[in-house]
């Protein structure tokens, strides 16, 4: 029995020690990372820079709005807090976390909206939040969907088993290469080329905001109202295959929020250049050139508000 216990004890010790060291090294590297969603989350949690404008939303924010172009036209200092496949509750969480941190409150929040972000709510890739599990706002948001973060809260050394190769690569990169000169484009992620352009039409189903989605939107409105922040709901352009503007049910609900909280709604679904294939990466996302042109147009709309 002695040998068996020694064997099990050794393997358990190795398991905990290797996992603990690897997890901590990896997460340390991820917290130094300036690229990808980790770069944005690090800017959110460990930075106190003042921004006049912040952009929230999904990939439609992350790929379509270039803060550098926006800043050069408006004179503001902006940052893009868009996340891939982000839903409305994630946008709310990011805003809440931003306002509770050492960042001074912005003058304006631009929430890039799409119907998909407000109907069914879920997290696409919870492990991106695991390194920030000590942060109560992030933890509470993720724990609502994912048990993994709960496990890591109590057994943090298991982190190494939760991250995929891409995250590990980012962590190692953060650890071993200098991140000082990495241009993170203020959260903007430009897409190059024309990739998966299809001629499939968008659904004409009259999508409405789900009850939970609506309540999350109201929370965003309240947060902005309480801090005297101007809130803009922006519906971005789509390649011309989409029929008309936003669906009527969705538009009615947005109008109700506008009337209640004095929000500005900008529907750019049919931006004049939305028929130009060369400006799109796919039917919903602009490529680098498209994003630059669209950000100029969007900046002009914001400047007009001044």
């Amino acid at each position: 029995m002695k040998r068996l216990l020694l064997y099990l004890g050794t393997l358990l010790t190795v398991f905990i020690a290797v996992s603990f060291i690897a997890t901590n090294l990896l997460e340390y590297g991820l917290k130094l990372q300036r690229k990808d969603s980790f770069g944005t989350l690090n800017h959110l949690t460990a930075n106190s820079e003042a921004h006049d404008v912040i952009f929230l939303g999904s990939s439609l924010a992350k790929n379509n709005l270039d803060p550098a172009v926006f800043d050069s036209i408006t004179g503001f200092n902006s940052y893009n807090f868009g996340f891939y496949a982000a839903k409305i509750d994630q946008n709310r969480m990011i805003l809440e976390r931003y306002l509770s941190s050492s960042h001074p409150a912005p003058k304006m929040v631009v929430l890039v909206l799409e119907e998909n972000a407000v109907d069914t709510l879920y997290i696409k890739f919870p492990p991106q939040y695991y390194p920030y599990r000590e942060d109560s706002i992030i933890y509470n948001y993720v724990a609502g969907y994912d048990k993994g973060i709960w496990v890591l809260h109590y057994a943090p050394f298991l982190g190494i088993t939760q991250y995929n190769d891409y995250v590990k690569k980012l962590g190692i990169e953060g650890l071993f290469s200098s991140m000082k000169n990495v241009n993170n484009h203020k959260g903007f992620d430009p897409l190059t080329g024309i990739h998966k352009m299809t001629t499939t039409r968008f659904s004409d189903k009259n999508i409405r905001i789900s009850e939970k989605g609506y309540s999350e939107m109201e929370r965003i409105c309240v947060l902005c109202r309480d801090q005297n922040i101007k809130l803009v709901f922006l519906v971005p352009p789509y390649y011309y295959t989409r029929k008309g503007a936003v669906h009527s049910g969705f538009a009615d609900q947005l109008a109700a929020l506008r009337d209640k909280y004095a929000i500005i709604i900008m529907d750019h679904t049919t931006w004049p250049q939305h028929v130009q294939k060369s400006l799109f990466y796919d039917k919903a996302h602009l490529n680098e050139n498209g994003a630059r042109l669209y950000t100029i147009a969007f900046s002009d709309s914001i400047r007009a508000l001044k």
């Binding site: 029995m1 040998r3 068996l4 064997y7 398991f15 290797v18 690897a22 995929n164 190769d165 690569k169």
Partner: protein, 478 residues
């Protein structure tokens, strides 16, 4: 319940101590209940099916041993084999043959009235336990062993959880007698078993699942890749299938060892084979030996008057059925045909090969033989791995016709893909270096020290390089 899941580790950690705390019949019944629970977690509705197969073969064997007339014995044996094969055919092959016949009828513009049977969910493990029930009844009929009297022992033999879902296919002479005796708590056995399980997890999580990241896109869309990238994908496929299935077998053998039972080995470094015939004596040995004992040998014996032709015919029949055993797909039939063809060629060239062996230095001849066998295996695995015959032909076509401009090799692979290949190569090298060291023949103290060092290194590599997104085992589909 996948072997490479947290739920299995919890299940196993609970089963082992309780198993050793119990004694006699209670221990056996607990093992049976645990095995059935394990099966229920995978496929609860087909518990009835495994129950039927077990009871039918149990009573068939009992009847064979109770009747004295040879003719009646034979009838019962044939009835049991037929029923087992009909059940297997119904659940695994009916829709496949029906679809194939419909295609032929449609091709000739003829009406084909037979509909598919409904969307049958394939019962996991059916191919494995069906073969075990068949071999058991045949063994009783031929007098190799007595019919098992205790139904609980027999049911545990069929449902024994380490080998239930994907083998190894046990023959009744090995595991069944062990279940009749009570195993003792042996810490060295347990250490060996746990180390073997760890090795299996390593092969599956670090090598097979990581290689799948390279292979899947290449096999899904070969026309988007450069021939050299497809070639890398083909080599990776051979390694993936080996590490996936031998990893599963290692976990199964290790888990059995922990419980005190020895189940048969399934692999013996098959990629070092010097002929296709030798390959099949080292690859999925439990299936090869089953097919040899219950299909190949009886055919050769019954057609012995045909001489060499009996060998050739029974080789083809055996390997076509071997291919088809893997699944209801024409690509598996081609896989089997290729193996049969290669072995027949080896048979016919045997005298010449002896001359060549004498003419060249042994090292050169053996290395060349290994090289040729390995590359034949890699080629035939295209048909094994692709989702259908059309896809496998696309991969073969892609090997010789560039869908990408010249010089773009590797450009389809991201930096992450290259990193995956490098890590996989390092891990494969590690696997080959240590594979032989798992032998249980080492003296106990030395083996204990080696187990600790080897276990610690393997566990560390598993944690650092593992791909922890539980993927099902390839052989579960068979």
């Amino acid at each position: 319940m996948l072997f490479n899941s947290i739920s299995f580790l919890v299940f196993f950690a609970l089963v082992v101590p309780v198993f050793f705390l119990l004694r006699g019949k209670a221990r056996l019944l607990f093992l049976l209940a645990g095995s059935l629970f394990f099966y229920c977690c995978a496929e609860p509705k087909y518990l009835v099916l495994i129950g039927f197969s077990t009871l039918f073969s149990y009573f068939a064997a009992r009847s064979i041993s109770s009747v004295k007339e040879e003719r009646k014995k034979r009838r019962i044996m044939v009835l049991n084999v037929c029923v087992a094969l009909i059940v297997l055919f119904f659940f695994k092959y009916f829709n496949f043959f029906n679809d194939s016949l419909r295609s032929v009828f449609t091709y000739f513009h003829l009406h084909y009235p037979v509909p598919d049977l409904f969307n049958l969910v394939f019962p996991i493990g059916i191919s494995f336990y069906t073969f075990e029930t068949i071999s058991y009844v045949i063994d009783v009929f031929t007098g190799v062993r007595e019919a098992e009297k205790d139904l609980a022992v027999y049911a545990t033999y069929i449902a024994f959880f380490p080998k239930l879902l994907a083998g190894p296919i046990e023959q009744s002479t090995n595991l069944l007698p062990q279940l009749n005796t009570e195993t003792k708590f042996d810490q060295d056995r347990i250490i060996y078993g746990l180390t073997r399980m760890l090795w299996g997890f390593f092969k599956k999580v670090v090598i097979a699942d990581r290689l799948a990241l390279i292979i899947n896109p290449v096999f899904d869309s070969p026309s988007s890749y450069h021939p050299l990238t497809i070639l890398v994908g083909c080599y990776a496929t051979a390694m993936q299938v080996y590490c996936d299935f031998s990893g599963y077998s290692d976990i199964a053998i290790g888990a059995s060892k922990v419980l005190g039972y020895d189940i048969v080995e399934n692999f013996d470094q098959p990629f070092l084979s010097r002929s296709v015939g030798e390959f099949w004596r080292r690859w999925h040995m439990s299936l090869s030996f089953w097919l040899r004992d219950y299909l190949f040998n009886p055919i050769v014996y019954s057609r012995r008057k045909w001489g060499k032709y009996a060998l050739i015919i029974s080789t083809f029949i055996t390997f076509i059925l071997c291919g088809l055993w893997h699944g209801p797909r024409w690509s598996f039939v081609v896989f089997g045909l290729l193996q049969g063809l290669a072995i027949c060629l080896e048979l016919m060239l045997q005298p010449r090969r002896k001359k060549w062996a004498a003419r060249f230095p042994p090292f050169f001849y053996n290395t060349l033989s290994m090289f040729i066998t390995f590359h034949f295996t890699v080629f035939s695995f295209i048909f094994f791995r692709a989702k259908d015959l059309h896809s496998s032909l696309n991969v073969v076509y892609g090997l010789f016709h560039s869908g990408q401009p010249a010089g773009s090799v590797g450009s389809e692979l991201s930096g992450l893909g290259i990193l995956t290949i490098v890590i996989s190569l390092m891990m494969i090298l590690y696997m080959f270096v240590v594979e032989k060291r798992l032998s249980p023949t080492f003296n106990k103290l030395r083996y204990f020290r080696q187990s600790i060092v080897f276990g610690a290194i393997t566990l560390s590599l598993l944690l650092v390089f593992g791909y922890f997104d539980p993927q099902t085992f390839i052989y579960f589909q068979f």
